[in-house]
């Protein structure tokens, strides 16, 4: 039983982590492609359309990866989490089915038109198809986060005698107080990934004196989008999301902030330290007094409950993992704001394209938004453990009762092998597209 739960969790964690590397880029990148396309329509300068076309190639590759790794996600609710699906399908099936019907059809129908139909449709319609692809991908994010929010903060349900959750208020799924902060926070994360990728490739071209016109455009666009999204992800969306955790999941909040003991007179914010769960303390701590109280309740002396106030049976399953995920996310987020501020100042002073060290920094930043987004999701998911539906259904009670651990390990190994191959192919083809670079052409 322990093994079954372990492999089921590993398989879901592995496949969702790998899967989300792709949608986090495509959701943000679709917005930026729409922006390039819009600039082209306004200015008729070919450079913008060429930029849109170049990023469409990257988009198409990522989109295909997102689709093929996304189908297993939907299947796994049934294959590996059958009990969970049976008990909650009447509720989360609602939002997941809506995702399929409302966003996947929209995205996939118009992506085909967007990729192959520019000549057939003309520029205005081509812009429209791009916009619809963007809309579909964000709708998909919205409905997934609606599902996620219900698991974090269940609303609009009742539980029958046989343990089944049934919906009694459809509207509550969408007015869930967890939803909007989580959605906006996540989408900003996605825009950060795409802006850093665009800026990184731009910096690569500038540093190599290749495709310099595009290099400048990519760096400039990436930095502007990057600055706005890096700020918005912290404030207000991140702030708002954290306050939700403090209010509705106080034990999770204590664990992710690394607060073992309730402190009178206000809680410190921990910047660095290693949680020692066995001895209930934090080693090598660097902290700033009273700041956490202020950030959470706008009062320097507000009390924040430490882990000591809770029963161990409701502790998050992996406190160090949760703590590190959260701190990696916040730490990287802070670095993102700093770098983008510097780059923006240089851009404003018209010195960005010649400030080598900033370009190098932008180029090497490429992997870090992916790490930050992944860490953010680990914070949300590890924070909810040991629950599937917070306070109502334990993760151990949600697995498929008849699928043996041997069969799950078999498929987990299969996914690892297959995704390693996919990852290699992806990198190879992405490098090829980037190496070839944008093509200049005349339109209309």
């Amino acid at each position: 039983m322990e093994d079954m739960l372990f492999y089921d969790r590993m398989q879901f964690a592995f496949t969702i982590t790998f899967h989300y590397l792709f949608p986090q880029l495509t959701m943000g990148l679709s917005l930026m492609i729409v922006y390039f396309k819009w600039r082209f329509l306004r200015t008729k300068i070919d450079k913008y359309n060429d930029a849109a076309k170049f990023w469409m190639k990257i988009f198409a590759l990522n989109f295909a990866m997102g689709v093929v790794t996304g189908i297993p996600m939907e299947f796994q609710f049934g294959t590996n989490w059958a009990k969970f699906s049976e008990l909650t399908g009447g509720i989360i099936g609602q939002t997941l089915a809506m995702e399929g019907m409302f966003s996947f059809f929209l995205e996939s129908s118009f992506l085909g038109l967007f990729l192959f139909g520019e000549k057939l449709m003309g520029q205005k319609l081509h812009f429209l198809t791009g916009f619809l692809v963007f809309l579909g991908s964000w709708a998909s994010g919205y409905l997934i986060i609606a599902t996620h929010s219900w698991m974090q903060y269940p609303v609009g349900y009742e539980i029958l005698e046989n343990g089944k959750f049934v919906l009694n208020n459809f509207g509550a799924l969408f007015s869930n107080p967890w939803l909007m902060p989580a959605f906006l926070h996540n989408q900003m994360g996605s825009v950060i990934t795409s802006s850093f990728v665009v800026a990184s490739i731009g910096a690569f071209y500038l540093l190599n004196n290749k495709h310099s016109e595009f290099g400048k455009l990519f760096v400039k666009t990436g930095v502007i989008f990057g600055l706005i999204s890096s700020i918005l992800i912290a404030f207000p969306t991140g702030d708002w999301a954290a306050k939700n955790v403090a209010k509705h999941q106080p034990v999770t909040f204590a664990a992710m902030e690394g607060i073992f003991e309730t402190e009178d007179g206000g809680a410190e914010i921990i910047l660095i330290g290693q949680p020692d769960v066995e001895n209930k303390k934090l080693d090598n701590k660097i902290a700033v007094p009273n700041v956490l109280s202020f950030l959470t309740y706008q009062r320097w002396d507000a009390q924040i409950k430490g882990l000591n106030e809770f029963d161990e049976s409701v502790y998050p399953t992996n406190i160090p993992g949760l703590y590190y995920s959260y701190h990696i996310m916040v730490g990287l987020g802070t670095i993102f704001i700093g770098l983008m501020l510097i780059a923006s100042i240089q851009l404003y002073r018209k010195k960005l394209y010649t400030t080598k060290w900033v370009l190098w920094a932008l180029m090497f930043m490429l992997p870090f938004p992916y790490i930050a987004n992944t860490a953010g999701w680990y914070t949300a998911e590890l924070g909810r453990q040991p629950w599937l539906v917070y306070n109502l259904l334990r993760t151990a009670d949600g697995i498929s009762p008849t699928v043996s651990s041997g069969n799950t390990l078999f498929t987990l190994l299969g996914f690892i092998g297959l995704y390693a191959l996919l990852g290699l192919l992806f990198i190879m083809l992405a490098v090829k597209i980037i190496h070839k670079g944008p093509e200049t052409s005349k339109h209309n």
């Binding site: 093929v68 009990k83 099936g93 139909g117």
Partner: protein, 358 residues
Amino acid sequence: MELYWYIILMTMLTIYVILDGYDFGAGIIHLFFAKTEKDKKAVTNAIGPFWDANEVWLIAVGGVLFFAFPTLYASSFSGFYLPLMMILWLLIFRAIGLELRGQIKNRMWEVIWDKAFGIASLLLALFFGIALGNIVRGVNLGMVTDGVSTHEPHFFFLPLWNSSFSPHSEHLGVIDWFTLMLGLVGVISLAIHGANWIIFKTNSDLNPKLKKVIFNLNFVLLALVIISLSTWHIIDPNPFRNFLEHPWLIIFPLIAFTGLFGLFKVRSFKKDGLGFLFSTLFLLGGLASTVASIFPKVLPSTNDVNPSLTLYNVAAHEYGLAIGVYWFVIAALLVAVYMFVQYRVFRGKMDDVGYGDH
């Protein structure tokens, strides 16, 4: 309410089989009959702009199944764990085969992805036929041994096969001779369907050859259908009871046979879309007849201890199903618009679409 959702789900499933069916079929044709580079281009151009949107129907079917019949979704997806995972992996191979082939101009690269695309398509058609076979044959619900359920009455697990390969054995497997036979029906009927789509959507040099292929395969299909029907009583002693009780259901087998016999005239069709119409009729009629024969069961039980799963004992709660109709109608109308736009822009012959030339 359950019945409405059952009809919606079955309609969506049929649409999926007809749409992604031609993609799988085109893959099988690609594997066995497309010899030259031009032939291969014709095949991939014919499905290029469509296959991705077609596959969305599978996700949509899965979503609606999850939402409207959560118990069936949970029971069948965990019970058919291994074949479903194989289907996922094959779908991935098929997709990357199609998408990656044109990315690098290298003979070896192209050969590898051609085979991946073709073989995965073939195996997917086989697996989907086998899946249908499993649903009509039923499973050991509750995993009864010696007259006692070892699990909750709606859960089960099937290995890929057992050594006897018999649909009657006490220990069933996903693959036995009966389900394998329906798997072959799947392969042959989808190969025909895919060939018809290529003829419909291209002017390739392959078309005259494909008409001959369809004609010949249709004999194989007819033979398989006859053998299946004459052995059907082994898995269901009274497969015609629903048709006797509700004679109007006979329309479905009639549609299937119209499609099957119509295709023997494929070599004299003047309009290129006519063949596709007939193979669509066969798939539609065949699938509907099979599903109707077990109605209202959706997954029969092979033991006497636990009852079969029917659309009434696996459905979600009334309120959710009722409210779902509102958003579903809106979504379905939108999907109809998207499909209209998509098939309108890519209407007619697709020889010049240049799929994979990026």
